[in-house]
């Protein structure tokens, strides 16, 4: 089914994000990543016709694919972020590292038995995307990419939630969204430097 294709896309966008060295492009790839996630949610939701997941999908599209990238861009203009972001980890390391992570996660999830229709690969992929987003956080010194790394970690969670468990309880998902917004608010507050001059 189409799900696998989109999961592939998800991973691909994440990996591309790892190699970008410009902030805006990074944000763009993040929004792409979330977009794919949203579509995935909708697809799976339709397949299982699960209302909750459809809502989640829509929310994802709205908040993650559009809202947050926009906000980030807004911030970056407001607080003059450094837009030139060089990955710390050398490319040739990264080239080895990323496949290695994938291999490892598949090896990791291999003994997982009797999951519903054996979609252990989804678990593997989401774990690997977790690792990758950690990698994203590691390879940048500036704050903004770190935030994006954090956000894509959130995406990895959603991926897991959508694929492996076919949706979490509604309440939880909404809670997660709420917290996400909260996080953005706090970040906004944190960006205000003018208090620190005192």
């Amino acid at each position: 089914m189409g799900a696998d294709f989109f999961i592939g896309l998800f991973l691909a966008t994440l990996i591309v994000a790892l190699f970008t060295s410009r902030l805006y492009r990074l944000i763009f790839w993040y929004s792409m990543n979330s977009l794919v996630l949203g579509i995935l949610a909708l697809l799976v939701g339709k397949a299982l016709d699960d209302k909750a997941m459809l809502i989640t999908g829509v929310a994802t599209l709205l908040i993650k694919a559009v809202g947050i990238p926009y906000l980030l861009k807004h911030f970056s203009e407001k607080f003059q972020f450094v837009r030139q972001i060089q990955p710390q980890i050398k490319t040739h390391y990264a080239i080895i590292l990323i496949p290695a992570i994938l291999v490892f996660t598949f090896y990791l999830s291999e003994p997982i038995t009797h999951m519903m229709q054996g979609n252990t690969n989804y678990v593997a992929i989401s774990i690997s995307s977790l690792f990758l987003s950690l990698l994203l956080m590691m390879e940048h010194r500036d704050v903004a990419p770190k935030i994006i790394g954090f956000l894509s970690m959130e995406n990895a969670l959603f991926l897991l939630g959508i694929t492996a468990t076919e949706g979490m309880p509604m309440l939880v998902e909404l809670g997660i969204f709420f917290d996400l917004l909260m996080a953005i608010v706090v970040m906004n507050l944190l960006f205000y430097k003018e208090e620190t001059q005192s």
Binding site: L160, A164, D179, E195
Partner: protein
């Protein structure tokens, strides 16, 4: 209904914190004292008591934790009254502190009372994010930087926890369906979970998240830095309450994991804690100022609690938890007072307190200092006796008995390194350096007395029986 009661004071605090006029300054503490009342009420009720369906359920364990936390909160707010006398703090920051304290409190109630992994996580996240801002109420560059650090670390940790939760949920969903997120159900059906490996993996990830959040291995200094940079009441909240929100999650998850595979759980936690305490011991051996010292020792004690819990010494763990939750904030507050003239001079810090208040103050502080290294008759002495007893029991029942005993011996040796350091600190505080006139205010003293009384209550046989009856 009960939920409304619980949240009410926080809500009031939140709203009041927006009001500009001067009365607010006095309304805030009162509203924060009010947090105790519903909790006492809750404490009286018969357990388990469903507050919000199966989402929030009050049982003995979490009401105990909540009670302790609320007492700590009250003590902290008491000390907060005279914060301005020791450090420069604007009115705005003061109000904002309360605003976020309200959010923090709500998050805390949710995470502690949660019978549902998701709710637990949400509450935890709320509490974390609000503390991030509480750190920043102290307007220094350092505080700003540390707030960011905490933001990042907290974010990573929290997401790991959620990831783990989802995996566990996934592992249990085939048998429990949507209700696979409820702790009690999970506990009951732990044995039937179809894919224990998946659960354990989730558990491992979640635990790593929690441990990182509590400042365990790897590197233990960021927590210290944060607590150094923020106002001392914030530090007190950190060590007193936030940690308790995390540790209760650890309690719940590990109980389920025990059902699934005890050996794996024990091995994982034991190795992790040994590493943590090893590092912490040597960090403390070098620690040069109070805040770092105390926050590091906080890490140490959290590690001990976790160890006691997984090695079956639940009573010891709970007692130790209570003792630590009261002792550490007390120490942080007194540290704030000791450092009131801005310098962290350890030598002679306890000198120069004259008059009734002063004397009482330094006596209390030295008592706390000696209690934190679990000298009798501090509750920690007993909790460590029982906790290590439980550990030895596990060792005896395991089939690597000598190795286990060696490990425990190593643990004890590391603890005595910490012990040595604290003795040295105490001595130099009391006997070295030169005395200079210092002041202590009634409210702080009151807070310390409150903590002292709570500690004493912990020692009563009735309390012991209650704690034994919890799990």
């Amino acid at each position: 209904m009960m939920l409304a009661l619980l949240v009410l004071p926080a809500a009031v605090m939140f709203i009041v914190s927006f009001l500009k006029y001067r009365k607010a300054k006095f309304l805030l503490p009162i509203s924060s004292f009010a947090i105790l009342l519903p909790i006492v009420k809750l404490f009286m009720l018969s357990k388990p008591y469903a507050i919000l369906g199966s989402y929030l359920v009050a049982d003995k364990l979490d009401t105990y934790v909540l009670l302790v936390s609320s007492l700590v909160g009250i003590g902290v707010t008491l000390a907060l009254l005279t914060l301005g006398k020791h450090v420069r703090v604007t009115d705005k920051a003061y109000r904002r502190f309360y605003r976020f304290f309200a959010i923090f409190w709500v998050g805390l109630i949710f995470s502690i009372l949660a019978n549902h992994m998701g709710i637990y996580w949400i509450g935890l996240e709320l509490a974390t994010l609000s503390t991030v801002y509480m750190i920043k109420t102290n307007h220094t560059l350092a505080a700003h930087k540390e707030a960011w650090n905490y933001m990042i670390v907290g974010a990573i940790a929290i997401s790991l926890v959620l990831f783990g939760i989802i995996l566990m949920y996934a592992s249990a969903k085939p048998i429990l369906g949507e209700r696979a997120m409820q702790f009690d159900l999970l506990l009951q059906h732990a044995k039937e979970i179809p894919s224990p490996f998946l659960f354990e993996m989730g558990f491992a990830i979640a635990m790593v998240g929690m441990f990182v959040k509590m400042g365990f291995f790897p590197m233990n200094l960021w927590l210290a830095n944060i607590e150094r940079a923020s106002f001392y009441p914030v530090a007190a909240l950190f060590s007193g309450i936030l940690e308790s929100a995390v540790i209760i999650g650890f309690f719940r998850f590990s109980r389920i994991a025990m059902q699934i595979n005890y050996v794996h759980l024990f091995g994982f936690v034991f190795v992790y804690m040994l590493l943590t305490i090893f590092i912490v011991a040597f960090l403390i051996f070098r620690a040069k100022d109070f805040m770092r010292l105390f926050s590091l020792s906080g890490v140490e004690h959290m590690a001990l609690i976790a160890l006691f819990w997984v090695s079956g010494g639940t009573f010891a763990a709970l007692l130790h938890f209570g003792a630590h939750a009261f002792l550490k904030p007390a120490l942080f507050l007194s540290t704030g007072v000791l450092e009131s003239n801005g310098k962290y001079r350890i030598a002679g810090a306890l000198k120069g307190y004259s008059g009734k208040k002063g004397t009482l103050f330094w006596v209390l502080v030295s008592l706390f200092l000696l209690a934190i290294i679990s000298l009798p008759p501090s509750p920690m002495f007993f909790s460590e006796l029982y906790g290590f007893g439980a550990m030895i029991q596990t060792a005896k029942s395991s089939n690597h008995i000598l190795a286990m005993i060696a490990a425990i011996l190593l643990l004890l040796i590391l603890l005595s390194v910490i012990f040595y350091r604290f003795v040295a600190i105490y001595q130099s505080m009391k006997y070295e350096g030169k005395a200079e006139e210092k002041k202590v205010y009634a409210s702080e003293l009151l807070a310390l007395i409150l903590f002292a009384v709570c500690l004493f209550v912990l020692l009563l046989p009735a309390t012991f029986d209650y704690l034994r009856s919890i799990v």
